[in-house]
């Protein structure tokens, strides 16, 4: 015999289960996103800095210019 009360209870229980699963999935997604964000930020900071960390050899702002006379310093091997 069809029990309306029982059916309603089972329906409500099913809705609660679906709701719990949805919340957990959502929460997991938020946590994963946060972790990925932190990891990417850390990676970016560790690779930051001056031109030495560029992915290619960096060209000078302008090439050396000709000059006359002696230098203030000497570039040679040591």
């Amino acid at each position: 015999m069809y029990d309306r009360l029982l059916a309603a209870r089972e329906r409500d229980e099913g809705v609660r289960k679906v709701s719990r699963i949805t919340w957990r999935a959502g929460l997991t997604g938020v946590v994963c996103s946060a972790l990925i964000g932190v990891a990417l930020t850390h990676h970016a900071e560790s690779g930051a800095g001056h031109g030495q960390q560029s992915g290619a050899i960096v060209v000078p702002g302008q090439p050396p210019q000709p000059a006359k006379g002696s230098g203030q310093v000497t570039s040679g091997a040591s």
Partner: protein, 315 residues
């Protein structure tokens, strides 16, 4: 040439000569203090001639497992590995064993004064891919047989580091030269910093070569004619070809390169020595101004390096 107001300090470090120039004379004392502190950190991190350096301790732990290293050594090693990657392995930090086998296992003055004997056949270096650096964790693992030498990049990296810190903290223009590895930061003098380019950084100001000005970034020179010694009856030098583990046999005796940083300039000048005849095209393709000197003194330039005012130093 505008040099009014420029102050200078010179001192010995790493077995070579350091020069500081600042555009605000009041800043020269602070500049020296910053340089002393940073250079001491670099020496403690990667000297190959002190047993307590991190590099020597790490070399002794090759094949053992990951080791924790300081932030400074982490950055120095990252710069060396980057140089290797950007040059396809032509500038390789795993040449420590090759240099030791050639007798360069002490301060260079001792090597020059007491020539060593060849300890055995030299072969290809292990290769930079056998160095496993976790930069974020400051941990590194060397595979068995790997021995590091950061000589190709450490001095240039230190020049960049000192120049950046001095310019930032003193708020003026600065040029740092460590044994001829030159880095400039902050506002340069109106007409730039005047640099004499020649074979040997210790050469007198009148030495044959070329004078140029730079305003920022780095300028470095590599040469097979300086830091040479005799071993087994033959003349050798310190620029190792990773493919053979032997001193590079180059058609260039000296290469000078300008780049966005001294580390990049020195990476390129060292690689150019090793690449030999292929170097000018490579430098041109990546847009680096360079001056390459053959053994007969003839000069070739690339990518906007100014026309030479005469032949290079006679060999």
């Amino acid at each position: 040439m505008t040099t009014v107001g420029v102050a200078r300090d010179a001192f010995e470090v790493f077995g070579t000569m350091a020069v500081l120039l600042v555009t605000d004379p009041r800043a020269i004392g602070e500049a020296r203090r910053i340089a002393d502190r940073e250079l001491a950190l670099v020496d403690r991190a990667c000297s190959r001639f002190r047993e307590d350096s991190e590099l020597m301790l790490l070399n002794a732990a090759a094949g053992v497992g990951p080791q924790t290293i300081s932030p400074v050594f982490t950055d120095l090693l990252a710069a060396a590995l980057r140089a290797a990657r950007l040059t396809g392995g032509d500038v390789d930090p795993t040449c420590g064993r090759a240099l030791t086998d050639l007798g360069y296992d002490r301060d260079f003055a001792q090597v020059r004064d007491a020539p060593p004997r060849l300890t055995g056949p030299v072969g290809p270096v292990p290769g930079w891919r056998r160095v496993h650096l976790d930069r974020a964790a400051h941990r590194v693992r060397l595979e068995r047989g790997v021995q590091l030498d950061l000589g190709a990049t450490a001095k240039a990296w230190a020049s960049d580091r000192c120049a950046e810190l001095i310019a930032r903290r003193a708020g003026c223009g600065v040029l740092v030269s460590l044994g001829g590895d030159i880095a400039a930061a902050g506002p340069a003098p109106e007409d730039g910093w005047r640099v004499r380019v020649t074979d040997d950084h210790a050469a007198p100001a009148s030495a044959p070569g070329q004078t140029v000005t730079v305003s920022s970034g780095g300028l470095a020179t590599s040469s097979t004619t300086v830091r040479t010694w005799k071993v087994g009856g033959r003349q050798v030098h310190h620029i190792i070809d990773p493919a053979t583990g032997e001193p590079a046999r180059s058609c260039w005796r000296t290469v000078s390169v300008a780049a966005g940083s001294c580390t990049d300039a020195n990476t390129a000048s060292t690689a150019a020595i090793i690449r030999g005849p292929a170097a000018p095209d490579w430098l041109h393709d990546i847009g680096l101004p360079a001056r390459l000197v053959r053994y007969d003194g003839s000069v070739e330039t690339t990518a906007g390096w100014p026309r030479d005012d005469g032949p290079g130093t006679a060999a």
